[in-house]
Each structure stands twice: as C-alpha cells, then as structure tokens.
C-alpha cells in the first residue's frame, strides 16, 4: 500500500502565537507557521492504513522552502517514509485551483498511490477545495467527511464511514475502488484493536524518531520545471480566484453587566449565592 498525504503550513492561530496588526490583518512575519491542524486527522488515517496493511506513506506539500519544519512535524505524527515539497516562485500565490494542478502533477510524477489523503479545510483559507480539486485532477474516486476507514487490500477496495450533516447528522458507509482520494473529517478516529497493530505502531515510533531528526535526508523538493508545468497555469497567473478585499470582523462589544462583589462581605456573598442557586438548575 502506498499513501500520499497532502498537508499545508498555516499560521499558528492559537492564542499567544498569532499576531494581528492594528487593522486586524494577520502579520504573517510575526506568526509562526505550523501544520494545518485538520491535516493531523488525514495523517492519522494514513498511519492506520500503514499499520494495518504495511507499505509506505509519503507526505506532500506546496509552499516556501521554510515548510520543511511543517513536513518534519507531519513525518513525526504519521511516521512517514518520505517527504515532497513543491516549491518555487512560479508556484507562489496560487489559489486552490492552481494548487490542485501542481499537487496532482506532483502525485502523478511520484506515481499514482493507492490512497490520497487530505484534511478537511485549512485553518487559513477555509475553502475545503484543494483536496477535492486535486482528486478531480487525478480523476479518481473521492470520499469526503470520512470518520472511519478500512481497506480490503485483496479486493482493492476502500470502505469508509462518512459523517453527513444535514437537518440531522447521518453516518453513511460507502465503498470505492482503489486508487481513491479520502478527505478526512476532524471526527476521524483511529482504531487499533489488536496487539499486533499496537506493536507495529511502537516499532514505527521508534524508527521514526531517528528519521524525523534528519528529515531533510528524506525530503525531495521539486520546482515547476521538475514537474514540467507551464508557469501560465500555476501560481498567481494560473489562479482564477481573485480576492478583492479582506475585511477584519470587528469584535462584538461586551454587553454583559458586571456587579462587583466583595468576597469579605457576607451579606453580598449571600445574595450572590441566592442568585446563582436559581441558575444552577438543581437544589
């Protein structure tokens, strides 16, 4: 089994990491880049496939050379075998369409795997387009919102549980022939039910610690010439999407009333408890 996991570096939006300027615009330079949090689930799905069926996991991303750290992080969490970074100026400032063209070309250059995994939406763009568009470009079946996965290696089929949220949330089980593309939901749960799987995981963890420390030995970087891509169809020039403007969302003003209570004032505290008792719903 060969799996390729698509991942992206995004600004670290966690409090204390992210930095905004006075107008509320993200300060890219001051905000560290991390692996897109949703991609963790894609990585775990690929890891489960590797633990159960053996084979190899490759991680692929498109971005500036500094994305090495992101790929290293991905390698550690999925115990990946090799890393691919599509990177040069011509590929920069791409929208999801141009990104999908580049990624699908990279995947084809590597050789079409059994499974392509993508996370659901990136934390910065939030379009959720790149995975499905890459899949469309590869012309293979796609299953989205996947929360559970099993592969029948002999029959060359994948069976997935997907979360369908309409008026009521439904869980749907679908099957597709391999190769296929799996967009993994944040509700995805790995499922290791045998000691053999746990032992395989332990082996992978041990060997990966060393490999991830020297991840650049396992990293291949391709530019647009390696991929034989026409600059007119990639990067900014190849992007049909035009972002006209970015407006910061103003924070809603606080509308709550605050009453100061002195904890030493027994009467005031008593009143507070009386008020809270009504809200506690119980006795």
């Amino acid at each position: 089994m060969h799996s390729i996991v698509l991942t992206k570096g995004v600004p670290d939006f966690r409090e204390g990491q992210v930095s905004f300027d006075e107008d509320g615009h993200l300060e890219r330079g001051k905000t560290p880049t991390v692996m897109n949090p949703n991609d963790e689930h894609a990585l775990q799905a690929a890891l489960q496939t590797k633990v159960r069926h053996g084979g190899r996991v490759s991680v692929m991303s498109m971005g500036p050379p500094g994305y090495g750290d992101v790929l290293q992080e991905a390698m550690e969490s999925v115990y990946a075998d090799d890393l691919y970074l599509l990177s040069d100026r011509e590929l920069a400032a791409a929208d999801t369409w141009a990104t999908a063209i580049a990624l699908s070309t990279g995947i084809e250059k590597l050789g079409l795997p059994d499974l392509v995994f993508a996370g659901f939406k990136t934390a910065d763009g939030e379009t959720g387009h790149t995975g499905p568009q890459t899949c469309w470009a590869l012309d293979i079946p796609m299953i989205t919102h996947v929360t559970g996965l099993s592969v029948d290696k002999d029959e060359r089929r994948v069976r997935a549980r997907r979360l369908v949220e309409g008026d009521v949330a439904e869980i749907e089980t679908v099957e597709a022939p391999l190769p296929a593309c799996i967009v993994v939901d944040s509700e995805f749960e790995s499922d290791y039910r045998t000691a053999g799987e746990h032992l395989a995981l332990k082996d992978l963890r041990e060997t990966t610690v060393e490999r991830a420390a020297e991840y650049d030995q396992h990293l291949t970087t391709w530019d647009h010439t390696d991929l034989n891509l026409d600059p007119d169809y990639i990067g900014l020039d190849g992007s049909p999407t035009i972002v006209s403007s970015v407006d910061p969302i103003p924070k809603p003003p606080a509308e709550r009333e605050a009453t100061m209570v002195d904890p030493g004032d027994a009467e005031a505290m008593g009143e507070l408890f009386d008020e809270m008792a009504a809200l506690s719903g119980g006795a």
Binding site: S150, G196, L199
Partner: protein, 558 residues
C-alpha cells in the same frame, strides 16, 4: 464498521504484568524463541508498582533477576544492603540488634530498589527480547479477564483491544490479580491473609554521611515494638541512592480491629527519634504510596495453575513475610522463570498443556514453595496463634520473670542468636507476641533512650494525595460499593490508606443521611484518589476492578 475477523489474534505465550515476575517469565520464554506478548496496564511499567523494597538474590533459588537481566544491578537498582538491623522500641527506649547475619543467610546479594525506575528499565529489555520472537511489550493495555472456549481458558480479554488467544498465559498481574480471581484461584476476602504496607519515599541527599556508608553500601533498619498503638506490624527504613524508603507493614486484620489510620501509623514511625535520626531537616517527602501484601504462609496458592493459566508472584500470593524476613520480588522472579521454563519444556515435548502442572512441580522441587509455606509455621500455628496461648505468653513476657528471662537470654547472647536464626524466623507466629510484646519488653528491659533534634513534619493526607499523579477515568469508577452499610464497608474508611475518618478528600467516608424522619449512617465512595492497593476489596463489600490501561494513579517512585 471495521469487519472483525472471526479469528482472534494468537500468540504462543502471553504474560500479563511487567513487574519482576512478568519480566522473568518473558525473559525465559523469549530466550526459548517463544513468541511472547507482554501486556502492562500502567502507562509505563512500574507506574502501578509499589514495594518496600528490598530485592534479594538467594543462593538456594534456581533463578535471580541478574541471571536473566545481567545489567540490572549496575543500571536499575539503588544500593546493595550491607548492614541490617532491628530496632526494638518501647516509648523512647530502643534496643538494637544487628541482623546482618540473618540477612546474609542464603543471600547472594540484596539491593534496595524503587519500582518505577527498575520496572521501566526491565520493560525496555523485555520489549527488545520479546520483539525478536514476534511478540513484544505493550503498556497502557489492561487485561480484564480470561477468554474461555467450552469452559476452558484459552486466552485473555482486554479493555483496549480485542481478545487474544495463547497457548500459555502467565498472570503476573500483582496482588489484586483479576485473572487469578476470574480463574477462581484467589479471592480477597479474609483480612487475616493480608498485610498492608504504607511507604514514604523521602529525600535524602546525604545518605552516605548520615549512615556512614560508602556509595556502594546500604543499610536496612527494621522497627518493632510499641510504635504503632498495638497494631501488629513493623517498620522499615532502606537507603536508596539519594532517598530513603520508610514504611510500615501491618496485619490487615489488626489494622481493621484497631480502626487505625495507616498514614498516621506511618507518621508515628517518621516522627519517632529512632527513625527521624536518619532523616534530613527539613523533611521532604517525594511520594506517599501503599500496597496490599499477601501473606504467603496463608495464601500462597498450593497449585497456582488452571488450564493454560499460571499465576506468579503476588498474583499467586507468593510474598514471604516471616518476622524480619520480607521477600517477595525474588520469589516472583523465580516463579516467573520456572513458568517460562516449564512451558518451553512442555512445548518441546509436544505437550504444551502440561506446562501448568510442570510449573507447580518445579515450585516444590526448587524449594520455593517450602519457603512460601514453611512446614515449621504450619506446625507452630495451631498452638501459638490460639488467643489464650498468646495471652499467657504475653503476660509472662511482661512479668518480672519474663523480663529476667529476656535479660538472661541477652546476657548469654542467645537473644541475638535467636533473632538471627532463619530457623526461628520461619516459625514466628502471627500474633501480638513477636510483633509487639517481645520487642517492647526487650526495649524496656535492655534498651537505651534515643533522642533526636530533627523535627519531622509529615504532609497531611490531603497534601499526600495532592502530590500524586492521576489520570482519572471520569464518570467510570473502577470500584463499586455493593453494600454501603457501616457494618459491611465501614472498615474501609480507616483502613484505606487514602481515606480517614473526618476527612472528606479520600476514597471512603462516612455520611449520615436523613430519610423518612430517621437518620442512617452509610459509607460513600469516590475513587478519584484511589491508589489501587486493593485494601477495600478485602475489608469492604465492593466489586473491585483496576482502572483501564494507563488510567488511575501513576507512581513515579514506587
């Protein structure tokens, strides 16, 4: 959704529990090329283990841990015990006897150990060795019962993973072995059959100076006499590399009868000058711990096997505590290795199903069972443990005649020789006499006053619990109180080492509930502070299980 295969996973051998007994079994099995899976419920091996802890290598035993793991003393134990004393205490007078000769009898070496460090060291080697056979060690997996087919034991069931079949199952899952109970081989019902140990690991950066020993030397002190409000038991203080293991072990029935608080009895020892003289000022406690200890004289199972299952170590009640001789881990190691050897031999002969019987034969042939259940004790017990006899002897000892006798015995050196006699210690009855009366009389008659300036101020029970690490399985308590009446379960309030009467932050507490105009006292349980010792399984009416793999308390010292 994942299609489950109709075939369970299968290994040649499964070892449940990665303590010394499990590690010994795994080593023998792996060395024989047997595919061996080791399952440990602690988040890391050693996280669930507490011991006093002296680890012995006996000359007469067929196996010791360093036969199986040669580097262990260099890398994972604390200090060799080179001096061994007993302190008989009465009030503030103390009479010391040097028991080094008794300690060295049949002893190739004896090291103080801390279980987290030692067991996790062992676990790494266990994994390496068993992995080569196609098995390996997994921690954080709790085995919760036996897999049976047509009534026959064929494997184990787990909380975290699917059932696993095996040709041979070694239950080295400790004093509260759920497998031993599932197999109907052991129960936890009679407090007379168990001890409870409580221990503080205490910071001691100046061990060498305080005990006047070199870095490769160590001291063990035992304490007996009137330290513990008449509760039958004894104390100990062992030197580690830069800590002390100070603790006490009590007969559980005596603890229950006296409604004594184990943590307070431990404090009585810590605060007594006979012990505090070894402690640095200010007192700093690294960890509070407790454990249930089987009394092998009464519970070592005479036939610890059933179908493909064998029990080793505490799971089989193989903990020898006879007077000043306290040996558990070494017997677990011997039993584990004998079990591994028995299965390898049985398999070679093409009759793997005979492994259990062969293991038990070897327990007897090797003399292990004779140490665990000494004939001498069995002969003395019916006479010596009769209440009337105990009373007569105690009165006599306390009388002027007794005191004269004690003095005479001491003057001739006979008392020391009696104390140092392995023959004698094998026949010590479990009564007040050897644990409390005799040491007290000895100290009163022959002792000298001991004093010490160190003020030991032990932490409160609340602080001790607060310092422990827990990963609580919230909403899924692992102990259920079946009968909450004070008669059935009230003993747990005091006997539980993390509960106390008038303390609301422990596992067990007494509550008064009002209903229909009358009030009733009941016992309530909150398992959050539980340290999984199993005391309440014996003294209260509970449905007792361990938490799931990796959950519950995590000892850092053990």
């Amino acid at each position: 959704m994942i299609p489950m295969s109709d075939q369970y996973e299968q290994y040649e051998a499964i070892v449940v529990g990665a303590g010394p007994g499990g590690a010994a079994a795994a080593a023998k099995l792996a060395d024989e090329g047997i595919e061996t899976l080791v399952l440990e419920r602690g988040v890391k091996a050693g996280a669930k283990n507490v011991s006093g802890g002296l680890l012995y290598a006996e000359d007469s035993a067929p196996y010791a841990i360093d036969n199986l793991y040669p580097q262990i003393r260099l890398e994972a134990t604390e200090r060799p015990i080179t001096e061994y004393y007993i302190q008989n205490v009465a009030g503030s007078t103390v009479k010391e006897y040097d028991l080094t000769r008794l300690h060295e009898h049949d002893t190739r070496w004896s090291d103080a150990v801390l279980r987290r460090k030692m067991d996790s060291w062992l676990a790494e080697r266990v994994h390496e060795r068993t992995r080569e056979t196609g098995g390996g060690l997994l921690s954080g997996i709790k085995v919760n019962g036996l897999l049976r087919e047509d009534g026959e034991i064929v494997g184990v069931t787990c909380d975290e993973i699917d059932p696993i079949r095996a040709e041979f199952i070694v239950a080295a899952d400790g004093v509260n072995s759920e497998l031993a109970r599932d197999a109907g081989l052991m129960n936890w019902e009679d407090p007379e059959q168990w001890f409870q140990g409580v221990k503080a690991t205490v910071e001691a950066p100046n061990v060498n100076d305080r005990f006047d020993i070199g870095p490769q030397e160590g001291v063990a002190h035992l304490f007996s006499g009137d330290l513990f409000d008449g509760v039958r038991g004894g104390g100990f203080c062992y030197t580690n590399v830069d800590t002390l293991s100070i603790g006490a072990v009590f007969h559980l029935d005596s603890l229950v009868e006296s409604a004594a608080e184990p943590h307070e009895l431990l404090n009585a020892l810590l605060e007594h000058p006979v012990c505090s003289q070894w402690i640095d000022d200010p007192y700093r406690e690294v960890e509070y711990a407790a454990k249930l200890v089987p009394d092998s004289k009464k519970v070592a199972h005479p036939d610890p096997q059933s179908d493909r299952l064998v029990l080793v170590g505490d799971a089989a009640g193989q903990m020898q505590a006879q007077g000043p001789i306290i040996k558990g881990m070494n017997h677990a190691v011997t039993a584990g290795a004998l079990a591994g050897e028995a299965f390898a031999g049985a398999k070679r002969r093409g009759e793997p199903e005979s492994a259990g019987e062969r293991y038990v034969e070897r327990l007897y042939e090797s003399g292990t069972m004779a140490k665990l259940r000494p004939k001498r004790y069995e002969r003395v017990r019916p006479i010596a443990e009769r209440e009337r006899a105990t009373e007569v002897v105690d009165r006599l000892l306390e009388s002027p005649i007794g005191r004269f006798g004690v003095r005479a015995l001491d003057a001739t050196g006979l008392l020391k020789r009696l104390y140092s006699s392995p023959f004698m210690s094998m026949s010590i009855p479990d009564t007040q006499t050897p644990y409390v009366t005799l040491p007290t009389v000895i100290a009163e008659t022959l002792g000298e006053p001991v004093s010490d300036d160190t003020t030991v101020d032990p932490p409160s029970l609340e602080q001790r619990i607060g310092e422990l690490t827990y990963d609580t399985d919230i909403g899924n308590p692992h102990i259920e109180l079946l009968d909450n009446s004070v008669e059935a379960s009230g003993a747990a309030v005091t006997a539980c080492p993390v509960s106390a009467s008038e303390f609301g932050g422990g596992c067990y507490r007494e509550e008064t509930i009002a209903s229909n105009g009358s009030t009733k006292d009941v016992v309530s349980l909150d398992t959050q502070p539980c340290i999984e010792c199993g005391t309440c399984a014996v003294v209260a009416d509970t449905a007792w299980e361990h938490p799931s793999g990796g959950r519950g308390v995590e000892f850092r010292q053990g």
